[in-house]
Amino acid sequence: MAIVEIRWHARGGQGAVTAAKLLAEMALQQDLYFQAFPEYGPERMGAPIQCFNRLSTEPINIYCSVDNPHLVVVVDPSLLGAVDFAAGLVPDGSVLVNTGEDLGHLQQRFDLAGRKVYAVNASGISLETVGRAMPNTPILGALVKILGLIPLEKAAAYLHDYFNEHFNADLAAKNVQAFERAYGEVRSA
């Protein structure tokens, strides 16, 4: 398998860096090779941030930013008009957006005609399950679905253990619910 390169666009405080790290840890469960790293800058709540993943079946020894991603994840829909989220996207690359917006409308609004676009209302799912807007877990669910490298039950089990260890059983159950809902609800065009 060639290296899959992922670039995340989010705002500080949305948990994108944690989601990228969780993806790496889930990849380890599948005996894959991986990297997860943020763009290192000042950490400010609400400011645009980027982080990155690389995934492969072979060892990865490239140590620089992802300039030509195969997949771009936009965790905050307000970034769509604020940053050049599709910069350097490879020709057959795709975009995953946290939005409830109609996909055709989205493609038109951001000149994404001909691009594979995925959308999931991660913020909405998170509000309904976890009770606050933490889009990172549901968007990770959608991403895991799109990648097709990690089985749902394994990813959900890992997520459960992570939240149970770092928080509590209640949050673990709610986050797994958010994760699974997004896994099922992600739409594509």
């Binding site: 790496a24 840890e25 790293f37 943020p38 290192y40 020894n61 490239i62 140590y63 620089c64 300039d67």
Partner: protein, 395 residues
């Protein structure tokens, strides 16, 4: 024999320190090293190690405490970066002059000003003449292995010099990567017990350490002996690297080669850049552009003669530097060393220097590609268009 983990580079270093279980760690936090000491102090608090953790008010004090503890006869470690290493400066020379086998992990970060917390090699390159052994690591896996070996190298009776293990700040220290952590028991067996040569705490055999030597003492002889030990370190580093390979399946030498056997140009570089360079070389070799990589692991002692034997066969040698020496346009510190050694060569390759990544400027695949295409053209044309080049510089 090992467990595979998804952890950041600083955690891998903290794991090595846990397994080494040094008697004393004295450290002061500085970005990007901080997470190492944070993690290690958790191990101390949880009773996973027997280390006496000395919290100090500066890096100058950290290295001073290390010197005291090592002179007392302890196995001693510390970690720092950038300004922290700079603040240790005068004590670095005391540590090596007193022949104390302290192991320091330096998470490479540039030096101010302007203030910048990101990676380049200005910190360790500035300390290159402090008589510390310097080992460089491409990734966290290597950094972890290098820290384990550093203890053996530093404490070897023929060496007894402090060792600095370097890894790239943020790029490696703060990235989650797949790391194999070896089992504790075989690691501890490899590291072994430390028996200090002249410990201060050996009250039956009292010694004085660091006395005034003066004009009629043996200062000059002591320094010459220090230089001789640095020479011996060259062999000890290789022995320890070989033994590490026998025990754990991954041997280490003075450098690692990629594609040198049929290359017409050779790139010399340190640390994480080597991974990206190797990836680009791999692609270019498939197009018939035979370039090779010599990933240098040991910068001090300087393996000059050994390098000349390998490098003199290439029409072109290109050296990548993540630091400047401010000589006035004559290239970076690694280039300077390579060029000086090649004076002894029977056949001198054409030389080029690429300065890159200062203050954390990303070394992208396209930048490396651009440099390697130039290097390949130089090999084809038999001349180097520009000696000192700045890669990714905004002009």
């Amino acid at each position: 024999m090992s467990k595979t983990m998804a952890i950041v580079g600083t955690d891998a270093i903290a794991e090595a320190m846990r397994q080494i279980d040094p008697e004393v760690v004295a450290a002061y936090p500085i970005t990007p090293q901080t997470a190492i000491v944070e993690k290690f102090s958790e191990y101390v608090a949880d009773g996973l190690v027997n280390t006496q953790m000395v919290k100090v008010e500066s890096e100058h004090s950290a290295m001073s405490a290390c010197v005291g503890a090592a002179a007392a006869g302890g196995r001693v470690m510390t970690a720092t970066s950038s300004q922290g290493l700079a603040l240790m400066w005068e004590i670095l020379y005391v540590a090596s002059g007193l022949r104390l086998p302290i192991v320091l992990v330096n998470v490479n970060r540039t030096l101010s000003a302007p203030i910048n917390i990101h990676c380049d090699h200005s910190d360790s390159m500035g300390a290159r003449d402090a008589s510390w052994i310097q080992i460089y690591s491409e990734n966290a896996q290597e950094a972890y292995h290098n820290v384990l070996q550093a203890v053996r190298i530093a404490e070897h009776p023929e060496v007894r010099l402090p060792v600095m293990v370097n890894l790239d700040g943020f790029i490696i220290s703060h990235a989650v990567d797949r790391i194999d952590i070896l089992d504790d028991a075989p690691v501890r067996e490899f590291i072994g017990e430390y028996s200090p040569a002249y410990p201060l705490l050996d009250v039956a055999n009292p010694v004085s350490v660091g006395m005034f030597d003066g004009l009629y003492g043996y200062f000059f002889e002591a320094k010459r002996a220090q230089e001789a030990s640095m020479e011996k370190a060259m062999y000890v580093i290789q022995q320890v690297g070989e033994e590490f390979g026998q025990r754990f399946g991954r041997p280490y030498g003075l450098w690692e080669e990629y594609g040198l056997e049929d290359a017409r140009a050779c790139v010399v570089a340190l640390n994480s850049a080597c991974g990206t360079i190797r990836t680009v070389i791999e692609a270019m070799r498939q197009e018939g552009k035979k370039i090779g990589l010599l990933k240098l692991r040991v910068f001090r002692p300087w393996p000059g003669q050994e390098l000349v034997r390998v490098l003199q066969h290439f029409p072109v040698v290109a050296v990548f530097d993540r630091a400047l020496a401010f000589k006035g346009g004559h290239g970076g510190p690694l280039y300077t060393e390579v060029a000086a050694s090649l004076y002894e060569a029977e056949k001198r390759p054409l030389l080029a220097n690429y300065v890159y990544g200062l203050g954390g400027r990303d070394l992208s695949v396209s930048m490396v590609r651009q440099a390697l295409e130039e290097i390949w053209q130089a090999a084809e044309a038999g001349r180097v268009a520009s000696r000192v080049n700045y890669l990714g510089l905004r002009e």
